[in-house]
């Protein structure tokens, strides 16, 4: 279950030896490849294609970020520096290639972006990884601001306010096939998907290497690592460089996708914050968490932002609650519930989850109504006091709407708290029972598959 902790599978016969083709593994990766290949055929609209393309390279970026956060315990507030600089290196290379001075085919541009990201990670990483923990976070913040501020000083490289543009259709078509120019979005999607699959596989493989495991050890106990012969800073620095490489690949793919890079957008702290927020929401403690995070990022920034102007506020609230109640993110929610189900203890939770959902929806509706009404008064005052919310018509000028919304929030919140307490009790009880079961199995079998406790 805990894929970060054990990079080894144990098929019958071998304990820790070479993994032959493990059925579960082949199935999972096969499904992943299938999903990537088939997604645009299932979701056919151009909006879907846009979203899928963005999800593709954001998966790479969020996974690279989690190499630092989830695997290494390094909280970085400046990851956009490496994706952004990778983007810039990529776009300049594309422009040079189009002019004929640097014959780099489009399919290799993401690698160029990766090398760009890696170069800057080598440069900045040395200083960043000198410290750990909170200080490291502050340093990455400062460096992020440094690079973002420098953008205005070097307009030839960063393109000033307008950014740098490019055209991804240049040179000879891919493999000589005249229609594969990467002009159409669908072709760009498949390029992104290919890189996504390969990079995901590589980053997963990394977790099963000595450096990957020592990175975990550094996360768990950086001091002890020094006493088993490893230089903690060197472990962090090397991992930082590798993460920068993959971040740059993501940046390069973004460049190909949008054909424009703008320093104000690509390098700033807000973007770094976004990577952090969604990687964490997806789940930093499981390898596949950031994949979920990337999907959530695209859905939130494209769909949620259309739905309501207050989406950043809702996002902030969701993030806050996640940190308090589910710090392992969506991935851990899935996995821990699966675990409870595996031990056959999920029964009481159907009703409890239903209760949480209903009371949560009531509370959220009340809160959202209030927020939307405030926003409406703020921003759309010219449109009059009426506001459409969830199919109802709210009147911001009348007290009734406000009182009703507040009442809904209060009542919903109260009920939610009752259900939550009951849930926590039931959950704790279930965990105890599972623990007891595990201990029982350990005593009974004294060996194979005792189950991994969280």
């Amino acid at each position: 279950m805990n894929t970060l902790a054990s990079g080894t599978a144990r098929p019958t016969g071998y304990r820790y030896g070479v993994k032959p083709f493990n059925a579960t593994r082949v199935l999972t990766w096969g499904l992943f490849a299938l999903a990537l290949a088939v997604a645009p055929l299932v979701f056919r609209s151009s909006l879907a294609l846009t979203m899928l393309s963005q999800i593709g390279y954001l998966i790479i970026i969020c996974l690279s970020y989690n190499m630092l956060l989830g695997q290494g315990g390094m909280l970085s507030f400046g990851h956009a520096v490496y994706t952004g600089l990778g983007s810039f290196i990529a776009i300049h290379t594309m422009n040079l290639a189009a002019k004929g001075s640097l014959p780099v085919p489009l399919v290799l541009i993401p690698l160029v972006g990766g090398l760009g990201g890696m170069f800057f990670a080598i440069l900045f990483g040395y200083v960043s990884t000198k410290k750990s923990g909170t200080t490291f976070a502050m340093i990455t913040l400062g460096l992020g601001e440094l690079v973002a501020s420098m953008a205005l000083m070097f307009p030839t490289f960063f393109g000033g306010e307008g950014g740098i543009t490019t055209n991804r259709v240049y040179g000879t078509p891919f493999l000589g096939i005249p229609s594969l120019t990467f002009g159409p979005q669908i072709q760009v999607y498949y390029l992104i998907a290919a890189y996504c699959f390969v990079c995901t596989a590589l980053m997963y493989a990394f977790t099963a290497t000595p450096l990957g495991r020592m990175l975990n050890a550094v996360r768990d106990n950086p001091e002890r690592v020094e006493f088993i012969g490893y230089n903690t800073q060197r472990v962090r620095y090397t991992a930082f460089i590798i993460a920068g490489f993959f971040a740059g690949i993501g940046g390069g793919l973004a460049t190909i996708n949008f054909e424009i890079v703008n320093a104000a957008d690509s390098l700033n702290g807000i973007r770094s914050g976004g990577y952090l927020l969604f990687t964490f929401l997806g789940g930093a403690t499981y390898f596949f968490g950031p994949i979920i995070g990337a999907v959530l990022l695209v859905f939130a920034s494209i769909l949620l932002s259309e739905l309501t102007k207050a989406w950043l506020l809702y996002l902030g609230l969701i993030f806050l609650f996640m940190v308090m109640f589910a710090p392992g993110g969506v991935a851990s929610l899935i996995m821990t519930n699966l675990r409870v189900a595996r031990f056959g203890r999920f029964g009481p939770f159907w009703a409890l989850y239903a209760g949480l959902a209903v009371t949560g929806a009531l509370t959220a509706a009340g809160a959202a109504a209030l927020v939307e009404m405030i926003y409406h008064r703020q921003l759309n005052a010219a449109l009059g006091p009426e506001l459409h919310f969830l199919g109802l018509s709210l009147d911001t000028s009348s007290a009734t709407s406000w009182v009703l919304a507040a009442a809904l929030l209060a009542v919903g919140g109260f009920l939610l708290e009752q259900v939550r307490r009951r849930f926590v009790r039931a959950w704790g009880h279930a965990q105890e029972q599972i623990e007891a079961e595990i201990q029982r199995r350990l005593r009974h079998r004294g060996g194979a598959d005792a189950g991994v406790a969280p």
Binding site: S6, F206, R213, D220, N221, E226, F227, I228
Partner: protein
């Protein structure tokens, strides 16, 4: 990346004539104006088992920190097999063949027992910061980790996360990680802290078993353990070694009796 095997660490009989496995010369440590370690001289032969005893606050853990590189000495020398190691970083000292355990259990909580031990062996087997090889294919590392698990008696719990072990099991794992790299000089800081009588006895047997042929220094409070395990005892009081001799001689030493042992000796003699 090709493997670079470590030079063999200091073992019994390996040391050139006369050289000590571990040597401290006029070691001093000040924190601000306070002298914690006030000129310690110690010379340990290869393969010896030394118990370091003394009242609380005498500076025993500080001494271990100075030797293992966690703290830098204010002055004086620390020599490992004749080579100066004072002022070196902990990982440099570890690579030269000295390893230590901690009073407060210091393992990798979110890694399994097996993973903990495997991490401990990686460097000594020559695997550096490589990310181009799979852990599951490192047969020597895996075999060694399995062997260590058997030695410390944690094989049934190989996949259990370290943070879910019992206290005694975590202490056993701590020992395992300490000896994993094959270091010739082992420092154990209160290995039996917090254990019951039976657990302690079992644990001491374990320690004796796994440190065969190596030089051992251990901080201990339990006198029964000390007199049963140690070839020599170093008595540390107020940052100085006031006696360093065989257990019998230390028992008889009037300075020691006055400063520290007193009734504890009588207890050990009577109840042992």
């Amino acid at each position: 990346m090709s493997r670079v095997p470590n030079p063999a660490p200091a073992a019994v009989g390996d040391i050139a004539g006369g050289a000590w496995a571990l040597e401290l010369k006029d070691l001093r440590k000040n924190f601000g104006k306070t002298e914690i370690i006030r000129g310690v001289d110690l010379a340990v032969r290869a393969g010896e088992r030394i118990a370091v005893i003394g009242p609380n606050g005498a500076g025993k853990s500080t001494l271990f920190n100075l030797i293992s590189g966690r703290l830098a000495p204010t002055s004086g020398e620390v020599r490992l097999a004749g080579r100066r190691i004072d002022g070196l970083r902990p990982y440099e000292i570890n690579r030269l063949g000295l390893s230590r355990s901690f009073q407060i259990t210091n393992i990798f909580p979110k890694l399994s027992v097996f993973e903990n031990l495997r991490c401990g062996v990686l460097w000594s087997l020559g695997y550096r910061y490589t990310f181009l090889r799979f852990l599951s294919r490192l047969d020597d590392a895996n075999a060694r980790a399995e062997e260590l698990m058997r030695q410390v008696g944690l094989e049934p719990k190989h996949d259990v996360l370290a943070m879910n072990l019992t206290y005694a099991e975590q202490r056993a794992l701590e020992i395992g990680v300490t000896i994993a790299g094959g270091a010739g000089v082992i420092l154990l800081d209160e290995p039996t802290a917090g254990m019951s009588k039976t657990e302690t006895a079992h644990f001491i047997a374990l320690i004796k078993e796994v440190t065969v042929g190596r030089t051992l220094l251990t901080v201990e409070h339990d006198m029964g353990v000390v007199f049963g395990l140690a070839d020599k005892i170093a008595v540390v009081v107020y940052g100085e070694v006031i006696a360093f001799d065989t257990p019998a001689a230390v028992r008889a030493n009037p300075r020691v009796q006055e400063a520290y042992l007193g009734s504890a000796v009588a207890d050990a003699q009577g109840g042992h």
